[in-house]
Symmetry: C2
Subunit: 364 residues, 2 copies
């Protein structure tokens, strides 16, 4: 078991990563001061429920916790105010009080949704993340929680840090191959923005990671979380540095919105977005090597690096303009300056991004 | 013009109180660093709109601000997730970004609703309160913002402090008499929990306050806000002391829920609740004087002190059990121990409260 600490003063918390750590869930909750006197609510989704929910409930009840659970339909559409309202009804009926804890058992959707429930129920109760996807190594660290609005993703939310994150790598064994690869996309991003050595290690271990080798996975998740943790500890509420975590996301979010949330998984969209960012970098005069390595590593993981031809460039650009990575009208773009380093560039023109989007359709 | 400061470290903010200070709105916004580069959203209601919105927009636009406004229907039913979603749509369409400000122009409903929009839009943007009711001298100070759930009031919310509060007493002149009296109920509460001298002053000045005498109003609002400010500064997130602000609210909220939100105004419900708290105090062995003075002052303001006969005691008690002033199953009750002092009593039995509720129906 590896342990990481996210340093945020009185809001600091640990991340535990390891195979089979779910067996210690009762002890770990108690160690971190989670109340047994107040009811606890576990939020999960219809995919995760069957694999893990009974086991988690059994262990927590054996440890003396009072558990209520709520299962939302699998998928992004559950991140809505409607579903939030349903969950709050369940919380009220179960008698959750201010000392209660909301637990997210699932991927990023469940984490974001349950996290916003925890942030807003009675103006904030405790929150625990139990991520069950690789992608969630990103979303479960850092305290950003949100639901979607029909007009924009993640636009209604909060910064609400968890009490702890429990990452049992054995839960990842049931993931579909496509989700594994898409999840690794965020891990690659963490390398590209911060650590050239990690990028080299990722490229060497692509096969092991894609096939869920336990040891490689534990190390990769640890390193990915470590980068995220360093960035988040320095900028909890996204006033500056934290923006670098958006490498590939300006284009990526626009692709997700345009393609509909099912054609492209988040990790696939940002994979294409990271190739786009590398192309922007080259256009701004940075080394061609950035583009070559970025594309090569993403392809090693079987991730898409070109943009589906049928997506309309106007729609993509329009979605980008509605995205919240704008700052007083200027586009904020994360540009790689070498492998393992990026800059927050506030002067990238929409025209240049548009050209890059067009070129992404022609990538081989 | 009087000025108060709410001391909350980096979240500190000033409250300006005075007749005609709306004339300086542009200067005051600029003085407190409100951006002119990002669009601003004013949220108001259908009652306040006609009296004040055009004037506020005109002055802010003259000062160089880009304004969008949104008017919600008057009344508690606007504090819903549905209306929140509508306002967020307007914010998105107007291009509000992370440096934008949401302004609440109105009473407590508008303040709570717009405040939760500000707290959750893009995970938090700036917020300004321009209260236009007396009741809002309470709700506009302290950062508690929320919307209602069909099953419970104020259950979905956040702590989100404003950048400043602008209290122009001339906006109060258009208030209906019933709202004036109900608003003064919270002012009396601030006296009862903290300051016997203020209680004596309130009783002497009841007539002036009810008839909106400008000087009395400015002093009363200042003192009411001052008490609230002291309490909030010591306990921003309601871990302890802040609970004393709930004097009369445990019974009061239950009455509001049972009567439906229109039969009893909030201030009327807590007026009855404060008489109930005084009766609980006497039953616990505190001086009869507490009950006599509490009832006398509330009657001097023309506020109700007995409970409508037709309200069902079982329903009231059931609503109380669902209220969030419970802590691991024990009822938390604010009990006056003398005039100007209260205690947070965690051992008041539901049976005693039930008896007091029954007695409140027999009050003369």
């Amino acid at each position: 078991m590896r342990e990481l600490n996210v340093n945020l003063g009185e809001r600091s918390y640990p991340i535990y990563i390891g195979q089979g750590i779910m067996e210690q869930i009762g002890e770990l909750f108690a160690k971190h001061g989670i109340s047994k006197g107040s009811p606890m609510l576990i939020v999960t989704d219809s995919h995760v429920e069957q694999h893990h929910l009974p086991n988690v409930i059994r262990r927590l009840e054996a440890a003396g916790y009072k558990i209520t659970s709520y299962t939302v339909p699998f998928g992004e559409q559950s991140k809505s105010l409607r579903v939030l309202e349903d969950i709050i009804a369940v919380a009220l009926q179960a008698g959750l009080d201010r000392k209660s804890t909301v637990v997210a058992l699932g991927g990023g959707v469940v984490g974001d949704l349950a996290g916003f429930v925890a942030a807003s129920y009675m103006r904030g109760v405790k929150f625990i993340q139990i991520p069950t996807t690789i992608l969630a190594h990103d979303s479960s660290v850092g305290g950003k929680v949100a639901v979607n609005h029909p007009l924009a993703k993640n636009i209604i939310g909060a910064f609400h840090q968890p009490e702890l994150v429990l990452y049992d790598t054995s839960t990842l064994q049931t993931l579909p191959d496509r989700d594994v690869r898409a999840g690794l996309s965020e891990m690659i991003k963490h390398g590209l923005i911060w650590d050239a050595n990690f990028v080299a290690w990722l490229e060497e271990n692509a096969e092991k990671l894609v096939h869920l080798d336990a040891e490689a996975l534990e190390y990769g998740l640890y390193e990915g979380c470590r980068v995220k943790t360093i960035v988040v500890s320095q900028d909890e509420k996204e006033h500056g540095l934290r923006a670098i975590l958006n490498l590939g996301h300006t284009i990526g979010h626009a692709l997700e919105a345009t393609a509909g949330y099912n054609e492209l998984l988040h990790g696939e969209a940002i994979s294409i977005g990271m190739v786009g960012s590398a192309k922007v970098a080259v256009r701004l005069g940075y080394s061609e090597h950035i583009y070559t390595v970025t594309k090569r590593i993403l392809q090693a993981f079987g991730l898409p690096t070109s943009l589906p031809q049928h997506l309309d460039t106007d729609e993509i650009m329009s979605a980008m303009m509605h995205d919240k990575k704008f700052d007083e009208g200027n586009i904020v773009f994360i540009v790689p300056t070498e492998i393992g380093k990026v800059e927050i560039n506030k002067n990238v023109s929409a025209a240049l991004v548009r050209e890059v989007v067009e070129q992404l359709k022609l990538e081989v």
